[in-house]
Symmetry: C2
Subunit: 124 residues, 2 copies
């Protein structure tokens, strides 16, 4: 069910968000199980964790390389695939050849909606 919740989900939910959804169907589900499952799914490569400046960990079902745009006004996280994202050109780092397994790129900005003064409620 956790995979179903995350499949195609672009809202980057936290463990707490996911738990809230799961308990509507399986009311006794504990946080342990949610965290264990998310950890397992991350380890097998189904999910990525993203964490912005010490806030809660969010779970990203789209593991294709892409950047995340972080709006300081509304706290929303927006996936950016093109054209900013720097595709890993690993060989260029002579000190660390062939060892980079993952790249995370965070772009701090004011999002388009907030720029136009029509952003929604600020997320937690």
């Amino acid at each position: 069910m956790i995979l179903d919740i995350l499949e195609g989900n672009t809202t980057h939910p936290s463990a707490n968000d996911i738990h809230k959804t799961v308990v509507t169907k399986y009311p006794t589900t504990s946080f342990s199980t949610v965290y264990n499952t998310l950890e397992m799914l991350t380890n097998v490569g189904e999910l990525d964790k993203i964490c912005i400046l010490g806030n809660v960990i969010k779970y990203e079902p789209n593991t294709d390389p892409h950047a995340h745009l972080l709006c300081k006004k509304c706290n929303r996280i927006i996936d950016i695939f093109e054209p900013y994202y720097a595709k890993p050109s690993i060989r260029k780092i002579k000190q660390f050849p062939h060892t980079i397994e993952k790249v995370q790129e965070f772009l701090y900005c004011t999002c388009a909606s907030c720029l136009k003064g029509r952003q929604g409620k600020k997320l937690a």
Copy 2:
């Protein structure tokens, strides 16, 4: 004193690390003061916060654009200025013109020392 500790420091210390150093000279210094000072220095642009996947916040005195290499074996954070780092080409993002204020890039890897089997103690 906190600025002095961080000046030229490439170890990316945490608030706790900084507090430990400060109390050797000013034994009554509280965490409140350390956190308040770090927050203030961040707000005036002297420091950047960096946070890796839910670990503690580390403080980076070098605010020049650069990437961070994160070794999974020894947990060390290494500054990378060239040639990987994608310099912000902000104008290329049509959806978000002229609004990107900061870019953070994290490269997950095994560092050169660990590759050669001579890494130091794993950091906390």
